[in-house]
Subunit: 157 residues, 2 copies
DNA sequence: CCGTCACGGTTGAGCTTTCAACAACCTCGA
DNA sequence: TCGAGGTTGTTGAAAGCTCAACCGTGACGG
C-alpha cells in the first residue's frame, strides 16, 4: 500500500509492462463489450445481471445483503443502491431477516427470474464468443490458475 | 452479438464456468484495489492517471482527443468529460489542431506531469504487489499470450 | 444490566460514465 | 461547386458508483 522505503521503486520490466498494458486493454474492452451487450439486450448493466444470477443460485433464491455484496465483489453501498433499483422493477424484493434484525434478505422474484432466463443465452454466447472461443483448453486452465494465484494474494473487498 | 440461431445455447462447462467466475472476481478486486489506491494517494481515479500516462509518452506530450480515446479504450464522450476535468485542475490543456479544425489536441502541462510523477511510484508498487508478485515469470508470459489472443478477437472500441 | 464497540444496512452528495443529440468540419463524387 | 455522408468533438441528462455519515441492532466485558 504505502511507499515507505525512501524512494526505491522497482519499475516494470519490458515483459511486465507489455503484459500490464494488454491486461488493461483487454479487460476494458471485454467488459465494455459485455456491459453494452447486456444493456442493449436486457436493459440493465452487467453488474445487475450478476446480482440476479447469484440470487438464482442461492437456496430459496435468497441472500443477505452482505453475502450478496461479498459474492459479487462489491460494496454494501453499491448493493443497497442496486437492489433498491431492482426492487423498483419488481425483480427482487427485500425482507427483514428473522434471525438477525440488522440484516435484510434479498429475494429474486419470479419476474426477476424470468428476466434472468431471458438475458442468459445472449450473455453466455457473448462470453463464449469474446473469451473462450479465442482460447485453447490448455489456455483456459492456465488462465484459471493465474487468476487464482492473483486472487489469493488480493486483499478481500 | 445477436442470437439468431433459434434457441440453441452452448452453456459453459465446469472448467469454463470456474474460470469465468474467477475472472470476474479477480478483475473486480484488482482494479477496485488499484482505483482506490490512486484515489486515496493522488486524488484521481485510475482512468485519469492513465490519460496522463498516455499523454506523457506521446511526442510533445500531446495527443488528439480521438487518439487518446482509442489508446485508453474509452469513448470520445468519456475522454471529453475527463479532459475537461483535468483541464480545470490545470493538468492538461486543450488547443485546436491546425491540420484538421475538427480536432482538439490535449497537452500535458508541467503540473500534470508533476502529478503523474508523484503518483507513479505508489501505483507501480501496487501493480507489482497485487499482480506480478503473485506470478512466476512463466505465468506472466502465459498471461500475456492469453490476453493477446482474447484482445485480437475483440471488436475495436 | 450497561456501556462500548463491531456489524449490517441505508442514505445523500458528489463524481464519473453512458447515451443520444448536436455542431462543426472534412471528403468525395456528381 | 455543391451536397451527402462520414469524422471529430462537445454537451446535458440520466444512471451508476464511491465515500462518509448515520441509525439500529447484536455481542461482550465489566
Amino acid at each position: 500500500m504505502d511507499e515507505r522505503c525512501g524512494g526505491e521503486v522497482r519499475w516494470l520490466d519490458g515483459a511486465e509492462r507489455r503484459t500490464w498494458m494488454t491486461l488493461l486493454a483487454t479487460t476494458a474492452r471485454l467488459d465494455g463489450a459485455l456491459d453494452r451487450q447486456m444493456q442493449r439486450d436486457a436493459g440493465m448493466p452487467l453488474a445487475y445481471y450478476q446480482i440476479l444470477a447469484m440470487l438464482s443460485e442461492a437456496p430459496r433464491h435468497t441472500l443477505r445483503m452482505t453475502d450478496l455484496a461479498e459474492i459479487t465483489q462489491s460494496s454494501q453501498s453499491r448493493i443497497s443502491h442496486a437492489v433498491k433499483r431492482l426492487e423498483m422493477q419488481s425483480w427482487v424484493l427485500r425482507r427483514p431477516c428473522a434471525d438477525d434484525r440488522r440484516s435484510t434478505l434479498a429475494e429474486l422474484t419470479d419476474a426477476g427470474h424470468a428476466a434472468l432466463v431471458a438475458a442468459a443465452p445472449a450473455h453466455v454466447a457473448a462470453v463464449r464468443a469474446h473469451l473462450f472461443d479465442a482460447l485453447s483448453t490448455e489456455q483456459v486452465g492456465q488462465l484459471r490458475e493465474i487468476l487464482g494465484a492473483v486472487l489469493s494474494e488480493l486483499p478481500e473487498t
